[in-house]
């Protein structure tokens, strides 16, 4: 019952349907889209002509990370001249089940060891110190002539 419900929260840019109707493929331009819906939440990674508006409603769950109660994606694809070609809306039914791959690309020196964090100065970071021979050799150890 609602007594136990946590308050849902609107995330991103939830585009409401009737403002979307005002965008007419073939005539509306990028400027119309920005004026009506605001600038896109994201653009497709390799195609600046596809604008993406992502809106979600999330709700905190007990014992788990928050749940996506509803999710709505609006895709506007423009041609190179900047005129809207077609509009697609996707919601949670179009979502594909995905299991997030575990693991991460290691970035060198990213994990200061536990003891080091406790006692050493955090951020001592010279992973390839030895390999690169980055020990700066002392310059011209001996005397150098006076340039005067």
């Amino acid at each position: 019952c609602s007594f136990f419900e946590a308050r849902p929260q609107v995330r991103g840019n939830l585009v409401d349907t009737d403002t979307l109707k005002e965008l007419v493929p073939g005539t509306s331009t990028r400027a119309d889209a920005t004026a009506l819906l605001g600038s896109p939440t994201a653009k497709a990674t390799f195609d600046d002509n596809t604008w993406v508006y992502i809106g979600e409603v999330t709700q905190p769950q007990v014992g788990r990370t928050q749940d996506v109660v509803s999710q709505e994606v609006v895709l506007l694809s423009f041609n190179n001249a900047g005129v809207l070609e077609h509009v697609r809306t996707l919601n949670q039914d179009n979502s594909y089940p995905v299991e997030m791959a575990s693991g991460a690309t290691p970035s060198p020196g990213s994990e200061a060891s536990l003891l080091q964090q406790l006692f050493g100065s955090i951020g001592k970071y010279n992973p390839l110190g030895g390999a690169l021979g980055n020990q700066p050799g002392a310059p011209t150890g001996g005397a150098n002539t006076n340039t005067q």
């Binding site: 840019n13 939440t41 014992g63």
Partner: protein, 815 residues
């Protein structure tokens, strides 16, 4: 060595920098001809090559006065030289320089209020750096500003130079701090509605007084006077004076420059009542009237500025919850001067549409990024509003890891995008606490603790705590992760060992050691639940027989017993029967509904809790213990106009159901001490009739009413008073079917001439539900050395064999 003043005007030797600069430039170099050679004179530390690299003319260029003059200016710009002159000798351009000395050491003399490091922090002059008169003057001004902030307007600072060999100098800042300028008197002009003493309570500045030795609130501080004007405006607006205005706030320095007289001239205007109240919504598909319940003011109330502000926040949050992320609520007041009525309209319009493009967190050299990011009320891509930024800043500050948090938006890559930069300043979250104190429960005590609120920056809280006291020693280690596995889950583990000698309650000692696992989660911001499993090994020991003495003829139950030996002292038979090692394996849960306004010091709202513990599962005692308790806080601001007044009501009840064999008496409820003031801890309830030892009870109820009030002493002292009435009852120490464990005392023991049979010691007031009562007053004083609590409960209603306690005293300090 002799000290030369470094002030530019009186610098001996070379004329002040700017003058020299113009004089030599005026002798324009004769034009025409080529520069065959550039000769540099006077350069010692700086290499000729360096000077040539700054010159705009090289050998072979024509003598062009303009470029030569510009070379002169660039050489000065390097800040390396106190004087430069370019002269022409035939076809040689002679560059004569006098190098600025290099600083060897910087020292301060006469500074007490500010330490050397504070002064040295952002000076322009640096050891190894070059000394320039301009930098010295800038630093002098900087130090004067630092002292002004500390309320020392009478300070004098003058830099002195000690010339060393080879053009090096030591810079010494001779400081005379002068006296702190205090505010001797605060005067109000034009105040009819409120008298001066009431207004002095409102503002932050205070008059000079003996007990304000430690506080700085009586030092004159111009920023605080500005803040006082704002406090006065809010105070009058809160009481309905819509036309109120602070004409001006002046501070006159007394002739001896020792103190200020602060005068506030006010124009109060009339007090207004609220006329029509309405909400005008300009958002389509949102009706203004639906938002009326959020308005905190009704018609005919006195106008109240704070209530208007609260209404604006409530309406904003309500509209946002209805799916309009960008809303701006503006209150508009239309005055009717004749009838002193003001009409109030809340205009709900479209706010600026801004989305968060990126959240950058800076300054977290120790705390991990996600520990901060998870506290944000919004994420990247969400709508941005000042309200969510304020909540986020509050949440980050409540973490207790940072001394300063700023959440500032800056323009993003598009007009409706913003980048939120969060700058945090970390403070040490580790606390080595060493406490001493005395409390009636534990006697004189020494408390040593190590607490780390942000272990290795991961947000995990870890603390180790040891208490060594006369009657109680305990050691416990605990580890809690508020966001276990990045989820809405609080996980914790505790290891503890406690050794208590409660000779108040009964002649025995108890020691227990064990481990507890905790798992908690929030349903929403008001409801939370926590589950726990505890495994404890415990022992009741230090029990002893007591010694026999001859007792005259007396009735034991129906039987008249002649002269005989009886036991005196010693631990209750019931307790001695259970004096052995037992294990407790218990699952528990606590369900909390919390509508209080603040968890740390609540002033309004209420809280209800239901606790159920089930012991068994391999432990030696099996029982189910349920507890329910509630608290309600009633603010009395409306009547007393001061937020220190308040009533707090609390009530609770508990029942223990044992399953099969008898529970250990230490698992039962005990009444007295904290939950019933006026009685010794565990002093009320069923007792062993012979020895008077408290045996606890299976059913308990408590109720407490407390009135908090401020004492007629300045709030700076941190003293608050309370009056309380505690009520409570405890019953049910009986054992299975009335038989006592084991056989009890043999009758012959009492001189009754039979060889068989025994008698169990009777338990006094075992089924006596009658309430005990303790009423009295208490005071708590937050001293700079720690919190002192004293409760005196003279008026007590007790049952036979209850042990009362007049004064409870607790003093703990952290240093």
């Amino acid at each position: 060595q002799d000290r030369q003043s470094a002030a530019p005007a009186t610098q001996s030797g070379s004329a002040p920098k700017s003058a020299a600069h113009t004089r030599s430039a005026s002798r324009a170099v004769a034009a025409g001809g080529l520069i065959q050679q550039i000769r540099i004179e006077g350069a010692q530390r700086v290499e000729p090559g360096t000077i040539e690299s700054y010159m705009l003319v090289q050998p072979g260029d024509p003598f062009d006065p303009d470029r030569i003059d510009r070379s002169l200016k660039t050489l000065y710009a390097t800040g390396l030289f106190s004087d430069v002159s370019l002269t022409r000798q035939g076809n040689t351009l002679v560059v004569k320089v006098v190098e600025n000395p290099v600083i060897n050491r910087i020292a301060f003399e006469g500074n007490h209020k500010l330490s050397d490091d504070q002064l040295r922090a952002d000076l322009q002059l640096r050891p190894h750096g070059v000394f320039t008169a301009a930098a010295a003057e800038a630093d002098r001004q900087h130090i004067l500003d630092l002292y002004a902030k500390k309320g020392r307007y009478d300070a004098h600072v003058d830099p002195k130079l000690i010339h060393l060999a080879n053009n090096e100098v030591d810079v010494v800042f001779e400081i005379n701090e002068g006296e702190t300028t205090l505010t001797s008197k605060i005067v109000f002009v034009g105040n009819q509605a409120f008298d001066e003493s009431r207004l002095r309570e409102v503002i932050a500045s205070r008059q000079q007084a003996w007990f304000r030795l430690l506080s700085s609130s009586d030092e004159y501080d111009p920023d605080r006077v500005k803040y006082d004007k704002e406090l006065l405006r809010r105070f009058y607006l809160k009481n309905g004076y819509v036309d109120f205005e602070v004409k001006n706030a002046t501070a006159e320095l007394s002739p001896d420059r020792k103190s200020f007289v602060l005068t506030f001239t006010l124009s109060e205007g009339e007090r207004y009542r609220v006329g029509k109240v309405s909400v005008d919504s300009q958002l389509h598909k949102l009706n203004g009237d639906d938002l009326l319940p959020d308005v905190q003011l009704e018609t005919d109330d006195w106008y109240d500025g704070d209530a208007v502000e609260r209404s604006v926040n409530l309406i904003t949050r309500d509209v946002q919850a209805r799916g309009y992320p960008f809303v701006e609520v503006k209150p508009r007041i239309s005055r009717n001067k004749a009838k002193h009525i003001v009409d109030l309209v809340f205009i709900v319009g479209d706010g600026p549409r801004v989305y968060v493009e990126r959240i950058d967190i800076q300054g977290n050299t120790r705390t991990e990024d996600k520990v901060i990011r998870r506290q944000f009320a919004f994420a990247e891509g969400d709508a941005f509003s000042a309200d969510t930024a304020k909540t986020t800043r509050q949440r980050l500050q409540d973490l207790g890891y940072f001394s300063n948090v700023n959440v500032t938006p800056s323009p993003g890559s598009a007009p409706d995008k913003a980048i939120i930069t969060t700058a945090v300043q970390e403070k040490s979250t580790g606390e080595l606490s060493l406490g001493g104190g005395y409390s009636t429960d534990a006697g004189a005590l020494l408390d040593v603790g190590i607490k780390e609120k942000n272990l290795l920056g991961t947000g995990v809280q870890a603390n180790a705590n040891a208490v060594l006291a006369q009657y109680q020693n305990s050691i416990d280690l605990s580890l809690t992760d508020p966001y276990f596995l990045d989820r809405n889950l609080v996980a914790g583990v505790d290891l503890f060992y406690v050794d208590i000698n409660d000779f108040f309650v009964a002649q025995y000692s108890e020691r227990r050691g064990g481990v507890a696992f905790r798992l908690g989660y929030d349903f929403n911001e008001h409801i939370r639940q926590s589950l726990n499993y505890t495994f404890v090994d415990r022992d009741v020991y230090n029990v002893y027989e007591g010694y026999p003495y001859l007792q005259g003829p007396a009735f034991i139950g129906p039987v008249l017993v002649p002269e005989h030996y009886a036991l005196f002292g010693g631990t209750s038979y019931y307790i001695r029967a259970q004096a052995n090692w037992t294990t407790l394996s218990q699952f528990g849960q606590t369900f909390t509904v919390d509508y209080r306004d603040s968890p740390t010091n609540p002033h309004a709202g209420w809280l209800a809790r239901l606790g159920v513990d089930a012991a068994g599962a391999g432990g030696s005692s099996a029982f189910i213990r349920t507890k329910v308790d509630g608290q309600a806080f009633i603010p009395l601001d409306a009547f007393t106009g001061n937020s220190d007044w308040g009533i707090s009501l609390s009530a609770g009840a508990g029942q223990l159901f044992n399953l099969g064999q008898n529970e250990q008496f230490i698992d039962r409820f005990f009444l007295g001490g904290d939950n019933l003031r006026g009685f010794l801890p565990g002093g009320a309830g069923p007792h062993d009739a012979f020895t008077g030892d408290a045996l606890g009870g299976r059913f308990i109820y408590t109720q407490s009413t407390e009135l908090h009030f401020p004492l007629p002493v300045s709030p700076d002292l941190g003293v608050s008073g309370r009056a309380f009435v505690d009520v409570g009852g405890l019953v049910g120490a009986n054992f299975e079917n009335g038989r006592c464990p084991g056989s009890g005392y043999p009758l012959s023991y009492f001189g009754i001439p039979t060889n068989a049979g025994s008698v169990c010691p009777p338990i006094s007031s075992n089924y006596n539900y009658a309430p005990r009562l303790g009423a009295g007053v208490g005071v708590s004083w937050q001293t700079p050395f720690g919190l002192i609590n004293i409760d005196v409960a003279p008026f007590v209603i007790k049952q036979p064999q209850d042990q009362t306690e007049l004064i409870r005293f607790g003093f703990g300090t952290r240093f």
